[in-house]
């Protein structure tokens, strides 16, 4: 069970991004977090596993207070929280299997992880998960050879390999086309249910959230302004969360997905994600290397 008490996050001396958030998530409960950009959704998720350090307040996971943990204990605590990222956060140059196995880094010593000598049970579990998320035939492919939907499945498998108590999910579908988005959300809900996992899903697509999740929490300007059933999300509530808008737009269906059954690339054409930025390293006029593709440099922390 996860308890968030009076969580405050302030950067420098500006306005706080989170103003005393209170939230409780029971075991096995899935929660969707909605709100406009800058509301603090991403910050909230990252404060739970301290990728962002909270300014004040408490985060208690199964009785353990996270903000006060020392480094080794924090690592142990992080093992219990599986995180899934908006831009998949896979290691591009490693294979699918290596990416999934990296979920167990918290349990394996440095040298074993360097030599990729994971215990056979871990490997078995990894294969199981790869089958479950439907990506088994790509086991030895490099992660950057996969489509968006496929990459997110690997991300899900990686998080599940940790045998976590809770899933922290940051905008899992924002780069995906409508059909793939639904597939991924369905997969997430199914695996959470199968394993009795709690989950907190940061999501911008309100309709998608309402379709799959039974509890919605709306965040605005660092405050919780709604917490309840998606059916209670009337226009007035949406206005309170997002501001004035013609909400009839959100009820129009986006089922016009392209006819081909195959997920294809599964990704919306977002310039930086479908093209690699050829960041070449030059010294004395000579090309000596290539940066990792810099496409995900944007929106790293500023939300």
């Amino acid at each position: 069970m996860l308890e968030i008490r009076q969580l405050v996050k302030r950067y420098g001396r500006g306005e706080p991004v989170l103003r005393g958030v209170d939230l409780t998530i029971a075991d096995g409960q899935v929660l969707a977090l909605i709100g406009p950009s800058g509301a603090g959704k991403s910050t909230l998720i990252r404060c739970i596993n301290r990728l962002v350090e909270p300014t004040s307040g408490d985060v208690v996971l199964n009785g353990v207070s996270i903000p006060s943990l020392r480094p080794q204990a924090l690592r142990n605590a992080r093992r219990r929280m599986g995180m899934i990222f908006q831009e998949y956060a896979l290691i591009d140059r490693l294979t699918v299997m290596e990416n999934v196995l990296s979920g167990q880094l918290g349990y394996v010593g440095f040298w074993r992880s360097w030599l990729r000598r994971f215990p056979q049970e871990t490997i078995d579990h990894a294969f199981e998960l790869l089958d479950r998320v439907g990506i088994a035939e790509h086991v030895d492919k490099r992660a950057d050879q996969l489509s968006g939907g496929q990459r997110q499945r690997v991300g899900i498998a990686r998080a599940l390999l940790q045998n976590p108590d809770i899933l922290l999910i940051d905008e899992p579908t924002s780069g995906l086309d409508p059909k793939t988005s639904r597939q991924i959300m369905r997969l997430i809900m199914e695996v959470a249910a199968e394993r009795g996992l709690a989950a907190i899903i940061n999501i911008h697509d309100v309709q998608l959230a309402s379709l799959f999740v039974r509890r919605i929490v709306g965040l605005r300007n660092g405050d919780v302004v709604f917490d309840g059933d998606p059916r209670a999300l009337e226009d007035s509530v949406l206005t309170e969360i997002y501001g004035e808008e013609d909400w009839s737009q959100t009820s129009s269906s986006e089922d016009g997905d392209a006819g081909d059954g195959d997920a294809g690339d599964g990704r919306r054409a977002r310039g930086s994600m479908t093209q690699r930025v050829p960041g070449q390293v030059e010294v004395e006029g000579v090309t000596v290397g290539r940066h990792h593709d810099a496409s995900s440099k944007a929106d790293q922390h500023g939300r």
Partner: protein
Amino acid sequence: MPVNVIDGRREWRLRDRRGTLLRWLGTFAAVLLFGISMQYISSLTIWEFVADSGRQIGDLFGRMFPPQWSYAPRLWGPLWDTVNIATIGTLVAVIVAVPITFLAARNTTPHAVVRLAALLVIVVSRSVNSLIWALIIVALIGPGVLSGIIAISLRAVGFISKLLYEAVEEINQEQVEAMLATGASKLQVIAYAILPQIRPTFVGVSVFRWDINIREATVLGLVGAGGIGFQLNSAINLLLWDRASLIFAMILVLVVLSEAISARIRQAIT
């Protein structure tokens, strides 16, 4: 704005007033600096010698050709030494450069003071040429191939570390976040999230430096730090220009080969 309105007509020039002025000033400054420098150099030059240069060079080339091919067998050893100085020197430099890189990169350094220290090491290493390092090392531990290797490494560490730490600072942070989120230790984060991202740059920079080091290693012998430079120095001191030209020829082949190898490898990774 390159467009001016003059007398009601629009005129276009490549640069506006300010740009033109800056260009003229810049050119003027450059010419001035050049003039001063040349004047100073000229004051230190004995122009009678220069006048004689045509004859000197003609004489020199006459003595250089044909090269003393028969001396070649005595040069394989020193040539092998030269290659080793460059290769092992680069290897050592790479090994030392890796920890320094991570200490110097903003996103992986444990502490600001440590970072400063690492940057200082890099700066000192980069500012001093291999040959000068060689001078110092030979004074410290005596002549020989070991001094050459150390000299090469001392210079190369700075070169490699600087480029690598810049690459480390440019990586995609989300991958680092993902590894941290699984409970990985700092070393594991480096191994899984950072090293794979910088691998092409790492290989490219190392191979490039090796290529440069081959060139540098050819002259270290001039100060006693091993390699074919020693034979070259003797030949020149004894005015055996045909022997010297043989050595030049061997150096030429060596450098052209190493550059070709380096270019091929770098092409393969980018």
